[in-house]
């Protein structure tokens, strides 16, 4: 096998982005562990050392942590440094995952979050010793309310899905206060999986609403399905096709006429910030993903933050505690009888909030608007250059991302998944594969505003080269990638008999 390894260089000359280089191997920590090795040193104990068994009682005292690693400090730094070199990252290149808004994460935000007085602030420190942290949160709430055009914001949710859950709980509490929580949540078939999952967690049944032939919410269909059983509709705008819901105001009106609320999934606010405000087109409640629109790093899957912004009518129900001003001091308000209660301990992912506020300060109002237009420009540039080679899923103008289908390539036996893997050989992280579900074999591409024309041109050149390869030699594309230290990974076997932890053999 090894000898037959194809390197993209050998396959064709159109790979301009990468060459192959040595990459260090590394075993698991448990495999490099050896008894007695240590990588730490503790301070001299300045009090008498006690005997655990004596203090805790024999039954409570643990004898050892079975097969826990034993390694040196050098082992640790080499282990994780080597591992890190096996990853792709924004700092290495374009990361065009649609819906994920993988923009550059400014490093100054990391420095801000590490300021001692913020990083070491304890959530139970008395308010008068926490004014700095509270001021930061108040300032961010103000900025997010202005950006969304909503009346109040809670920063407690830890991520987008958590924000969705919080938002739907608010809807429920509000309707309950009206006397009837209602039964179901309408969710477009183009929606992200977290939307229906959230509705279910909040005790609602989910009714999927088919999009129209332009991939948008169909007001006709909506009029047909909306009724007094409907608590709310969860709409993503721009939707997951990257298209602005042109009738969003009508959608709001139709819902409001039936006493339903409009929830907006704000994952795509990178297309609207500074240009259009959900609060101005009828949205009652929405969440934001600070780890998307506001550039806090994804960190390999998290942490994030999913603030929820609401109209006045929902404010009484927001999670507690709430920030309130008492004289010249900030204080935490717990006495809020109508609140849905807490959705998380303490006040939210504060460290992420600091980064988001730093991002907003760095851009300022005008800068945020400019960034949005740059995001739109980049997405439309890529769409335009790719259209001759790939099938655009829906013809309407794109906002911050564009969605193609693999229709043409499928005819030659290659699907979006393999195109994505082949893209890796060309030195890029793949786009989002097979989402949204309403597009068969979707290629969902979001460059964000922080990509340069140079990088995007290399990306499009790669996509075009792959389209050509598919015509000449589809087999090569089907078994990509070839140039990575790990070739195509067998996910089926992984799921068939799951091995989710290392065990002593």
């Amino acid at each position: 096998m090894a000898t037959s390894v194809k390197h993209p260089l050998d396959v064709n000359a159109s790979v301009k982005k990468v060459r192959s280089h040595i990459s260090q191997n590394e075993q698991l920590l448990f495999e490099i562990s050896s008894p007695g090795k240590i990588g730490y040193q503790l301070p001299q104990l300045d009090v008498p050392a006690v005997d655990p068994a004596a203090v805790l009682g024999a039954a409570n005292a643990r004898t050892e942590i079975e097969s826990f690693p034993e390694v040196s400090e050098v082992d640790v730094i080499r282990h994780f440094t080597r591992l890190s070199t096996w990853n792709y990252a924004i700092d290495l290149g374009m990361y065009p995952l649609g819906s994920c808004t993988m923009k550059y994460n400014p490093r100054v935000n990391e420095a801000a979050a590490r300021v001692d007085g913020l990083a070491w602030a304890h959530p139970y420190q008395p308010d008068h010793l926490s004014q700095g942290a509270m001021e930061v949160m108040a300032e961010l709430e103000k900025c997010l309310a202005e950006i969304t055009g909503m009346d109040a914001v809670t920063l407690q949710p830890a991520a987008g899905a958590h924000g969705e859950h919080t938002g739907i709980l608010l809807v429920r509490a509000y309707l309950e206060a009206q006397g009837n929580p209602r039964k179901k949540i309408l969710v477009p078939d183009s929606a992200h999986g977290t939307n229906p999952a959230t509705a279910h967690m909040a005790g609602y049944s989910v009714e999927n609403v088919a999009s129209n032939d332009r991939g948008m919410v169909d007001t006709e269909t909506l009029l047909r399905v909306v009724n007094e059983d409907v608590a709310a509709m969860m709409v993503t705008n721009p939707n997951t096709l990257g298209v602005f819901e042109e009738h969003i105001a009508d959608v709001a009106k139709i819902l409001h006429d039936k006493g339903c609320l409009l929830y907006m999934d704000g994952a795509n606010m990178n297309a609207l910030t500074g240009i259009s405000r959900p609060g101005d087109f009828g949205v009652d409640v929405m969440h934001l993903n600070l780890h998307k629109t506001f550039s806090t790093p994804h960190g390999g899957g998290g942490p994030g933050s999913g603030p929820v912004a609401v109209k006045k009518i929902l404010e009484p129900f927001l999670p507690l505690p709430r920030l309130k001003r008492e004289g010249d001091q900030w204080a935490w308000e717990y006495n809020r009888p109508d609140s849905v209660g807490r959705v998380r301990a303490f006040y939210g992912n504060f460290g992420v909030l600091v980064r988001a506020l730093a991002y907003i300060m760095a851009h300022g109002g005008p800068g945020l608007r400019r960034a949005t237009y740059d995001a739109l420009l980049n997405a439309n540039y890529i769409r335009k250059r790719m259209e001759p080679y790939y099938e655009i899923a829906y013809k309407d103008p794109s906002m911050h991302e564009c969605v193609f289908s693999d229709a043409r390539q499928k005819k030659l036996g290659v699907d979006t998944g393999s195109i994505a893997k082949r893209l890796i050989d060309y030195g890029f992280h793949p786009y989002t594969v097979s989402f949204p579900l309403i597009v068969h074999g979707a290629l969902m591409i979001e460059p964000t505003e922080t990509e340069s024309k140079r990088e995007m041109d290399l990306f499009v050149d790669a996509m075009i080269a792959i389209a050509k390869e598919i015509e000449e030699d589809p087999e090569t594309v089907k078994h990509a990638p070839y140039s990575t230290r790990t070739s195509r990974v067998d996910e089926v076997t992984a799921a068939r008999k799951p091995i989710v932890r290392w065990k002593t053999t």
Binding site: W86, D91, C143, G299, V343, N349, G364, P366, H429, V500
Partner: protein
Amino acid sequence: MLDTIGISSVEDLTSHLPDEVLLHRPLNIADGKSEYEILDYFGARGAENSLGSTPARPSFLGAGVYRHYRPVLVDTIVSRSEFLTSYTPYQAEIAQGTLTAIFEFQTMVCQLTGMDVANASMYDASTAVPEAAMMAMRVTGRSHVLAARGVHPEYREVLHTYAKYSGMPVDEFGFSGETGLIDVKDLESKITKDTAAVILQSPNFFGVIENVKQAAEIAHANGALLVVVFSEAVSLGIVEPPRDADIVAGELQSFAIPPSYGGPFAGVIACKEKFIRQIPGRLVGETKDDKGNRAFCLTLATREQHIRREKATSNICTNQALIALMATVYMSVYGKQGLRELAVQNLSKAQYLAGKLNRRFTGATFNEFVVSTGKKSAAQVNSELEAKGIVGGLDLERFYPELKNTMLLCCTEMSKRDHMDQVAQVFA
């Protein structure tokens, strides 16, 4: 680029939007600032959180958020672009670094907790608790949940919020005013055939180590699952893990994660092998690549929202990956011997201070304990400490009206003897 697209200005890209949705004024947010001004601003905010808010300044607050020394390697590693700026590892071929680290994380959490399976992280312990409860509902087909009042009050608040609207009645059972352990009688009187889960925390909110074995027997005898919660992960260095639990829901903040005014932290859910298909959140599994090399990938995705939508085990998508990586590095640095020695230091410091004060409960504790403040109110003791530049403990009356004039104190390896002596003086 405009030419390629065939437009004359970027504004053309929004010309198709209905006029009424457009914002016709600039955002009311000040102009962009420089790095220097931004760091000035946050530096000033940090300075306002005067006391306690640096490693050097003494504080005896714990109660779910612990001040442990953060080895320099942790930030060194999580600051590497390849970890910091990568996305969820869906494309395994260029994410083996993150996947391998998560697999190690899952393994170490299992080793620590005595469970068979651990997920890749939850938002925090407070959200892991209701997720564990809902998991127990799915497993048992029952709907009631019994939570000990010794579980962190804010975790219970979150549990109530989640439960309220998802048809999951939650009852609470009490603790012994003498030992601080769960009130077994109360538990036995409240547990029924509808009880899906009995939830308790150990060490509990009072720092007292619960008798997990006994609770497990009661739960299992009634066909319920036992969910054990932990908020102080360092305790697992010397405290027997909850091997008899069915599900463990914990908080790893103690593992090199800064207090950061309450987040981001890293929660985790671990369980027995047989419940693996009901566990929420991401799981990394071992497999091979097509050359036969060992490889890792996200697995059992059929539990998750992006595949199963409303039938998913949870709606969680983004988790706390980078924070879990901090904990992974921390566990690697301390290792088998270090985590134990660290725990012994915590225990020794707590014993030193507790020995000088008037303890409220008789149950064995790790690095936190409840003391009665005697004639003085807790608030008064804290303000006297504040005058000495020391942040005191948590006034328990806030969460337990029956515990007037008591305070929860926490000592870690960072607590210095002379500060502890000053605390003792104020109490004296």
